[in-house]
Structures are given as C-alpha cells and as structure tokens.
Subunit: 310 residues, 2 copies
C-alpha cells in the first residue's frame, strides 16, 4: 500500500455566499464538508486511481469524528489516524457566488502533546514495518510537533526501504530536505523560500544540492519542471485550464506517487501528475478531479526534455 501522512488533518468546509463583505453579516447558501489536509486529499485521489492507500496523522474532537465518518466511506482507503486530546482543525473556503473568488480561513490545529507525538512515531514505524510501497509526507505541522519532524520521518522511511515524497513548506521543508527525501514537489513560492532564487530551473537544481534526490517544481497553470537523477523534463497542459485550483497540487502528488509505484518512466509520471492536476482545476467541486477530463488530457500533455541533461 501507499502511506500518506497528514499531521495537521482538517475538516474542510466550503461556504457559498453572494459576496463576502468585511464587517457585514452573511447568509451561507450552501455548505460542503469533507475530510481534508494535503495527505488526505492525496490519499483520496490515489484511492480513486485504484491504489490501496492508508492515511495516518492526528485526529481528535467532534471535527475529527466527522472527518473519520466520511473517510470510512471511501473504498480502498484505510484509516490509521492516531487519536489526540485536541480537536482536528477546520478550514473554511468562502466562495463568492458573484466573482467565484475564494477567501480562506484556516484554524491552527490542535496542540500535540509529547506523548501523542511519541504514539504517532510508534504507529508510523508499525506501518512501515508492515510493508509500504511509497510514503508521502504532506502539509503543515500542528502546534507541539517538533519543526524537524519531517526530517525524522524521511529517515525512518528510507531506513525501511520505502521511497518518500515530501510536500511541505518553510522550515519543516528546509529540515526535511536535508534528510534526503526521494522527491519534493514545491511550488515556485516554496522553492524561492527554500533556495532564495525566483528562477525556477536554478532554484530546482539548488533544491537537489540541498538533499532532495528529485525535484518536481509546480509552475501552476504552466505545468511542472522536473530535475531528477535520470534526467530533466518540462510537462505542460495543452491549454490554460480555467477553474478552482484548490487541491491541484495534491492531485499532482498523487499522480507522481501512482507513477512511482507502477515504475513508470519519468515522462509518464509527469504527464499523469499534470493531467490529474488540470482535471482537478476543471472539476466543479473543489479538490475533486474530473475523471473523463483526466483520461482525455493524459495523451495531450506535452513532455519535453531528455534523460541526459540532469
């Protein structure tokens, strides 16, 4: 199975309002509630692609129960979340009906006690011992989790022989990269914060020197740039895609993991990542992907580059 780790899981709420005006009162016309946090989103896409997937991380409170109730209904997905005393955070996306623009409100997440972090590490080791084909470490750290957490989890996965993808930002990314993950998938802002460079190719190469074996930089609507030990590629969607980019990065991570466990060549992995990402932007519900669009897009992703230029 593929293991995704989401230390700061979330109950994601999407609210529809006519138009958000600060300091006014709004009637929410529609509420959608679903399990969230980057690794949970990745797992949902992997399960939809037919991969046996296990989610771990922390869960707690009434929000956590609501999240687990919904996770339990997804075929192919196993819940290995670790209970904590605090409550799973909510994130709220307030969508303006008039403009389609979104205002985001993110709760910080529960305070994690040292014993809870210890219980998670035990569970993570158990899951790795049970046989894992790939690990994805995703998203922000809740309060109380040490900033070097991902470095530790990268090393444990590598020691267990599981390839590991790291998708986070800031200091947790900086420390995690130094532990030599197999793959990172930063966007241009995260890459610039890590390396100090706003030039994508230079920054991607620099991120590899800092420890990442392979770097797939997400360039938003322009697709991805991959610099790997096997070569260097650009993958681009056929046209500019319109829609809601929420979850597009998580779908790209799922595409990369799916291609990795199936041992596809890099160009095919990148095409899968870009097609899934674009099909997520096109889907009417935030964070879902449009399966027909995905299948049609897959053959239409342009991948350029070669296997000697890394």
């Amino acid at each position: 199975m593929i293991l995704t780790v989401t230390l700061n899981t979330a109950l994601d709420l999407t609210y529809r309002v006519r138009s958000l005006r600060p300091h006014a009162s709004h009637r929410v016309s529609d509420v959608v509630e679903r399990p969230g946090g980057k690794g949970v989103n990745v797992a949902r896409v992997l399960a939809a692609l037919g991969h046996e997937t296990t989610v771990t991380g922390f869960v707690g409170g009434a929000t956590g129960r609501a999240m687990r109730d919904q996770l339990g209904g997804i075929p192919g997905l196993t819940d290995a979340l670790v209970p904590v005393a605090g409550a799973t955070r909510r994130t709220i996306a307030v969508v303006d009906e008039l403009s389609g623009d979104t205002t985001q409100l993110n709760e910080p997440g529960p305070q994690i006690a040292p014993a809870e972090w210890g219980a998670f590490l035990d569970r993570y080791e158990e899951l790795l011992d049970g046989g894992v084909r790939a690990v994805a470490l995703c998203g922000s750290l809740p309060p109380g989790v040490p900033v070097g957490a991902y470095a530790h989890l990268v090393r444990a996965a590598r020691a267990a022989g599981a390839p590991v993808l790291l998708d986070t930002s800031g200091e947790p990314l900086r420390r995690g990269v130094a532990a030599r993950p197999d793959l990172i998938k930063p966007n241009t802002d995260e890459l610039a914060e890590l390396t100090g460079s706003h030039e994508p190719l230079r920054a991607t190469q620099d991120a590899r020197r800092r420890g990442a074996h392979a770097v797939v930089a997400s360039l938003g609507a322009d697709g991805v740039l991959a610099v790997t030990p096997e070569g260097r590629w650009r993958a681009t969607p056929p046209a500019r895609i319109h829609g809601n980019p929420t979850g597009a990065g998580d779908s790209a991570v799922a595409g990369l993991l799916s291609g990795l466990v199936q041992r596809l060549p890099w160009p095919d992995r990148l095409a899968r990542a870009v097609a899934l990402s674009a099909a997520t932007v096109m889907a009417p519900a935030a964070g879902e992907f449009d399966r027909d669009a995905y299948e049609q897009l897959l053959a239409r992703i342009s991948v350029t580059g070669d296997s000697s230029a890394a």
Copy 2:
C-alpha cells in the same frame, strides 16, 4: 422551570484574524466554540442568574454532539433537545484584531422533516404539561419548519397557562404576534418590518394592536421602550457602553423572563434587562455577561414613565 425554544440551534465559532481581506488566505490565531442560537444564549444567562432552565429545539450531527457536550456542563440547565437527521448549523464570527470589527457567516441549518417537526411538537406539549413558569420562543426557523410555527407554539403555551415571550423577526414574527403572545422584544429594524413605522413609540403601540400584550422595543445603546397593559416606560443605561453587542438582545430577554417569573414590577424587570444587556456588551467574551458590571449597573439604570400611560 423556564423553557426556552431554539428551533435553529447553532454551534457558534469565534475566529480571531489580523484583518479580514476578501479573496486572501487567513491564519486563524484563536478559535472559541460554544453552544448558540438565541434561546440557548437566553437559557445560559437564566441559568447563571440561578433559574432552573430547560432548552428544547432541534439538534443533530457532529456539530450537534459538540453543542450538547458543552451544554451538559452548565449547572441549572436541562437539555431537552429533539434529535434530527440533519446537522446543527454553525455560525462563524470573524473578529479583526486590528479594528475589533466582526464579519458574520451563518449556515442555514438542517432541513427538518415533517415527522421531526411532529416529534418536536409532542416534546413541547410534554414539557408544557410538566409545569412551566414561562416560555421563550427565540430566533429563526430552520428549513422545513412551517412559517406559522411560532403562532402554534404561542397558542399551546397560552393554553397550558404559561406566559410566553416571542423573539424572532420577519414573517414568523408577524404570524406569531397574531397568536397574542404575552411579550415580544423586537429591535427597531424588526419593529419597522412588522409595523411599517420607523418611529419607535408609534411602532411599539402598533405592535400591541397586532396582538402582543406587551412590547419591549430594544433601542440598542439607548436601552428599551416598554408599552404594556400596566403602563409605559423607558429604561436607559447610565452612559454609552462600548464593546461587543453580540448576545446583548438575548441577555435582555433573559432579564425580562427572570423578572417575570419573580413577579417584579415592570420598572425592575426593565432595569434588569438593560443592565444584563449592557453587562454583555462589556464582557470580553462575546455573548457572556460581566457579573460585577451587571450588579453595579442594576442600580444605575434610569427608568422613566408611569403606570397609567399605556
């Protein structure tokens, strides 16, 4: 006991952000979660004043469980809520740290099935049969509840010999007033919507002609205007009170009910309502009241009027 009815209960969340900007992403620095809906707020204040109080209305889902968990911890308060299949709504107050201003997002509430409305009516009759000193009917109606609901509940309370206060707005208020409640407590907007008049005294007198035995019109920071069969009064706080007006109207309702069941003369009931309302505005947490401020204010409320001018 005093019975408060909240058909559209809520889990009230207060979020603190630096400054709300539409279409941006915000980190919430602080989350406060508490049981809400107007009648629940009224019951909390009544219980704090030492009155045995029962809350009824609808409750459901994970949000409903979270609300009940917190209600269970309030001494003097009995939970007689009726379970429904839908989930209790959330309301979110987003407070700007910089300005102190609040942006409000209100979910619509669960769809109530006809059988669920029937189950509520049975429970309400049971509670009335058990002996009730006063009934408060508070707030908006969730989807599926008939717009004439409050008229029906007013008549049932009066048939059981319980004095009944109605605090709602729009068409549910219009229909409820026609059923002759003992008391309504509209604010100036609600009163204008009911009567078509923006002149408080004229509108208050008109509301009585429409069926309310007594009308206590809330004039915001200027206190209240009461027109009753026993006389007509104005009650005013000693100075303009600064703070958060969330819940001030619900505290005024609690003050009126508390004075009613203790058979206080109208001037004392009104002083209690205005002092509780002002002490709620002054409290640091939205919807709580500052007990010391309440006790100090009580003797300083100016009540003018007389018993013959109704």
